[in-house]
Symmetry: C2
Subunit: 226 residues, 2 copies
């Protein structure tokens, strides 16, 4: 049986839809049409309908969607109808910040453990979770029913850590190390690459400078033919 052939883009949008619907519900709305949802949150109505229709017929023609039931359905689809236990590998600046970060603690995700190789850190607590020795990775993962791993180690350790994660049977990984880890079919990796993100912004800035400045393209030796 194929895992799923629903693109990451779609699942990301489902998450956004859920968030939007929660906002609407908090405002007391009980139904919403795809058009209204789209206008309110700068989305595309056809895309909303298509994304949702992939999982069932949740809407009512002439009416729209019931906010409450659509929220329930999205939560089920996204696997948010049960809790997820998260571990963070690497308790440097980023790792501890993430452990402490509210976004991870809210909703259905709770950080159950951190890991490090540095003996001085082991045993300390960060945001309610203990730092364990990476040597005990597998047993701590099993004991705490951890199903999501966050990789927050330096680039050169990331590959090795991923193997460890895979061996422990974890199937979902959020990777903050600036390396393109290759996922297998049974292990999904989402890489959040802050450096790439910044450099991409820098590229954009380099382009705007030429607009505000001389009108020349930024200096690039870019004669098409030499």
């Amino acid at each position: 049986m194929k895992a799923e052939k629903i693109s990451e883009l779609t699942t990301n949008r489902l998450s956004i839809y859920l968030r939007c619907l929660l906002e609407l519900r908090s405002e007391g709305q009980s139904t919403v049409s795809s058009a209204a949802l789209a206008k309110r949150f700068h989305l595309n109505s056809a895309q909303i309908r298509k994304d949702l229709a992939y999982f069932g017929e949740f809407g009512i023609r002439g009416v729209g969607y019931y906010v409450d039931t659509l929220i329930d359905n999205l939560r089920t689809i996204l696997g948010l109808d049960h809790d997820h236990n998260v571990c963070i590998i690497g308790s440097g600046r980023l790792g501890t910040a993430l452990a402490d970060y509210n976004g991870f603690r809210k909703s259905n995700f709770s950080v159950k453990a951190l890991f490090d190789a540095d003996a001085k850190k082991i045993g300390k607590k960060v945001g309610g979770a203990e730092i364990f020795d990476i040597k005990n990775f597998q047993s701590v993962v099993k004991r705490n029913n951890i199903d999501i791993a966050v990789i927050a180690v330096p680039a050169d350790s990331a590959e090795r850590v991923l193997e460890l994660v895979a061996k422990a049977g974890i199937k979902a990984v959020m990777n903050f190390a600036p390396v393109p880890l290759k996922a297998s079919d049974h292990l999904k990796v989402r890489t959040v690459d802050l450096t790439t993100c910044l450099e991409s912004l820098s590229f954009f800035l380099a382009g705007t400078e030429s607009i505000n400045g001389s009108g020349l393209k930024p200096k690039r030796n870019t004669r098409r033919k030499r």
Copy 2:
């Protein structure tokens, strides 16, 4: 003059290529072919060539690319041939973690200031940068030549902060608030949405459970026709 019609996907890849080339250089390689680069880092050779060719003819047929000169060219293209000054708005857990985070301090990006509305925080130092009152945003930005803003405030303040950022003339924004901020032509926003990322992983996990478990799809009321 059009800003650029180069996709975000392309610029992200340019950043990756640069990183890969730096690694090759540190290993003493002086030339590399697109095929070798692709194989080594799990990329696609045609895509590498196409991405690079967009900016000039950097390669030599029969040889490949000179690592050194390609690095220089990529740095120029990405606007990394000069420094960028970054500010972080919101000095909560995430904001301070980012200020402290090495990834932001390395290379050409340096965090020059943080901002907050909480009087108790103002004046404190985080990772070498001071926390300023958000009221003085514009003047601090000007004084420090800040050209990139990181938004690390709660969702409900993000929109308001973005206006402030735009008004101060900043054109590049990295957004960690879970809201789809809409960028204008002159202001580029990159949103890093950790919640969406996690929920997308959760979706994937919900799908794999059916494989390991009963063979049934995860419980969704997904009869196509009712």
